[in-house]
Symmetry: C2
Subunit: 224 residues, 2 copies
């Protein structure tokens, strides 16, 4: 199958293309060529053409890509033509900040459950971009995941309990985890995990600062 | 110079090696070999040997790496033997969550300034892992960055003002930016930027969910 052979690095660039295409749509551009799209995304045209070639026969030589059709196609490849149901596990400072983040809803994700271990928080109503939800107890994790039809769990728990939470989530049928705790999760094959680690990002920045101090500045832009 | 030729992908794995080595040190392991280190970090031994070979002649064949020496060496390559001074720009929900995150201090980063545009927040004392700081006004951005000796700015501002903030930070001498706003920054050459985009991570997870639904589960673990 076409899609199975899309390289990881291409998949990781698709969200950026989608974002730029939505921007182009807002600016009422019916068609973009690879040079324009590359410029909007901060990459080069050859890369754009190569990445999009993995998705099939798209675009017309000498004209470009139909913006609306390409948005629909990338959304379909990313599996976000329907809304994805996500849960936030751990309603601490990070979990709370996530709930207020309107970017999720705009990109096709809906927070349908919030779970916390603190009895004082359970039952509290929290505001999300798509409405109010009551915080559920961690003891009810499995039931809540199943009843709310959660596909993606966002782990914002203390590091020490994160692996245990991941195990319970996987057992409850959750197939994708975004982990914000600074812990490397071990999960069975077929479960998708993305690790967000701000300390790692800071250390990579620090590397570039150290390099610049030693060798003078170099290009060190590593967005996306 | 040796260090200038370290590939980006290796640099991005160094923080994980460092984390695993610190773990090994806690467990009082004086020496680790590449197989053990690979297992702790979830990679393979050949990768570990290759990555570490870029840093110079390290380790002893048949024995392994001296844990303490390798920690010191990687810390030095990452430029975190001294504490790095960072500022949080934007004291909203995300900015606030960042301030409470003890991981930064543990990894060698100190939040030395917090800046916000809201006059009601300016002057408020906020608790950080390394003590209390008063929120500064955005009008004083340049002065605050210089007086506090900020090397890394963490941008947690609304998307619409983020590029303008980045421009001012660069003009004020900040050489590294961690951007949490869903906006691609344009910066001069030599300025290091890391982009954190949780929506992108969710979309990559969604891709795997869509793949699994179509083709059955595959390995989709992409940590670090």
């Amino acid at each position: 199958m076409e899609r199975q052979s899309v390289p990881q690095t291409t998949i990781q660039r698709l969200p950026a293309y989608l974002r730029c295409l939505l921007q182009a749509q807002e600016q009422r551009m019916p068609v973009v060529n690879s040079v324009e799209l590359a410029e909007m995304c901060g990459t080069n045209a050859a890369q754009v053409r190569k990445d999009l070639s993995y998705l099939g026969e798209l675009g017309t030589r000498g004209i470009g890509y139909d913006v609306k059709a390409l948005i629909a196609h990338i959304s379909s490849v990313l599996g976000i033509t329907e809304r994805r149901r996500a849960a936030v596990i751990g309603y601490g400072r990070f979990g709370g900040a996530l709930l207020g983040y309107s970017g999720f809803a705009e990109r096709g994700f809906e927070i349908v459950a919030v779970v916390d271990a603190d009895p004082a928080k359970v039952g509290t109503l929290v505001q999300t971009p798509s409405g109010e939800i009551a915080v559920s107890a961690i003891d009810d994790l499995e039931r809540v995941m199943q009843e709310a039809g959660v596909e993606i769990a966002i782990l914002a728990t203390p590091a020490s309990v994160t692996q245990g939470m991941a195990d319970r989530l996987v057992a409850a049928g959750v197939r994708a985890i975004l982990n914000l705790a600074p812990v490397r999760l071990v999960v069975p094959e077929g479960i998708a995990v993305r690790q967000v680690c701000l300390s790692t990002d800071l250390q990579v920045l620090s590397f570039h600062l150290a390099q610049n101090a030693q060798h003078g500045p170099q290009g060190a832009d590593e967005q996306e």
